[in-house]
Symmetry: C2
Subunit: 167 residues, 2 copies
DNA sequence: ATAAATAAAGATTTAAAACTCTTTTTATTG
DNA sequence: CAATAAAAAGAGTTTTAAATCTTTATTTAT
């Protein structure tokens, strides 16, 4: 049995992009958190509140797991909440300005990601693993996006129909 | 407590690249497998063989875990092995031509990665999540690298001192 | 033929992420 | 003030990846 194959770049797009071999990259919690923050930014303003039930239904995310995550986001000021009847989660004045990477720090920040995608200890441009530069490009691109984009920017994209939070 | 901060792109490089918040992206098994394949390509040729002990010592990878992984690589023809005294793992004629993505398929292929990095089900350019295009860029870059690079190319880089497998 | 060295196979354990369940606290409303 | 609705908190379970341990099969050398 052999795994050899000759394959062009356009092939891979057919073969991999749809079914997606790649890639975890972030925790599920981060994806849930980000979507929740955008959802609250859209639906939890002008005095409106979003209940946990509404959010988990709308986003299709496990109820209690999302509860934990949203608690954490409140604790870190991404948005606010209030208990009791007619309580819920709602945006504060800073919510739209939150950087996505701030949310990543909240959900994944304590995970110690390996520096090197191949698991080599001392990883830097001077002592690179054979894929260092490819990984660095990829990683920098994502960090760049997460660093400049805010919850508000994503909310606008969603509100204008350019992108979607669910389904 | 607030997570707000204003941060430039150059800041993030200082803050994140060294300690690396990002990112798992592949299983550890893939990193081990790739390094093992390159190691065997370098040291398991011209009649020489690499014992599991030698490989796990040289790469600093858990002995038995690596054993499992190398078994699997042999089964898929990435390199060969022989049991008994003076046995071990060694490159076959196809080893240097193996594409990295073939190894990824062996180690991670059965994992169902979420298509969408944010966990949204239907993920494509027509129905994108708010980060779809950023992810797509990153992902395509990595797939591109894994699709065109071979074990032999990495082995040459390592042999010429351009990159490193361990430490 | 026996012993030794080695990979292969299988079973088990550990650790971490993902998810669920239960209880408590806080606020609102009648 | 009592009942209720909601988030917060905490404990517990499940699943998966990662790592370890044990046994078996194969080859070589003596
Ligand atoms: S040395 Fe491996 S990614 Fe940098
Ligand atoms: S829809 Fe989320 S990455 Fe494509």
């Amino acid at each position: 049995m052999s795994a050899v194959s000759s394959r062009t770049d356009s092939d891979h797009r057919m073969e991999y992009c749809g079914r997606a071999y790649l890639c975890r990259m972030f925790s599920k919690a981060f994806g849930y958190a980000l979507r929740a923050a955008v959802y609250v930014a859209i639906h939890g303003k002008d005095g409106k509140k979003v209940s946990l039930q509404e959010a988990s239904d709308a986003l299709g995310v496990p109820h209690h797991f999302l509860g934990k995550i949203m608690q954490d986001l409140v604790k870190h000021g991404i948005f606010d909440s209030i208990k009791g009847p007619n309580g819920g989660f709602y945006a504060n004045s800073g919510t739209p300005q939150m950087f996505l990477i701030d949310i990543l720090k909240i959900t994944d920040g304590n995970l110690v990601f390996d520096q090197c995608a191949l698991g080599i200890r001392r990883c830097n441009a001077a002592h690179p693993c054979p894929l260092h530069h490819d990984f660095a490009n990829c990683r920098d691109g994502m960090i760049q996006a997460l660093t400049v984009k805010t919850v508000g920017i994503l909310a606008e994209d969603v509100e204008s129909g350019m992108s979607f939070l669910a389904r």
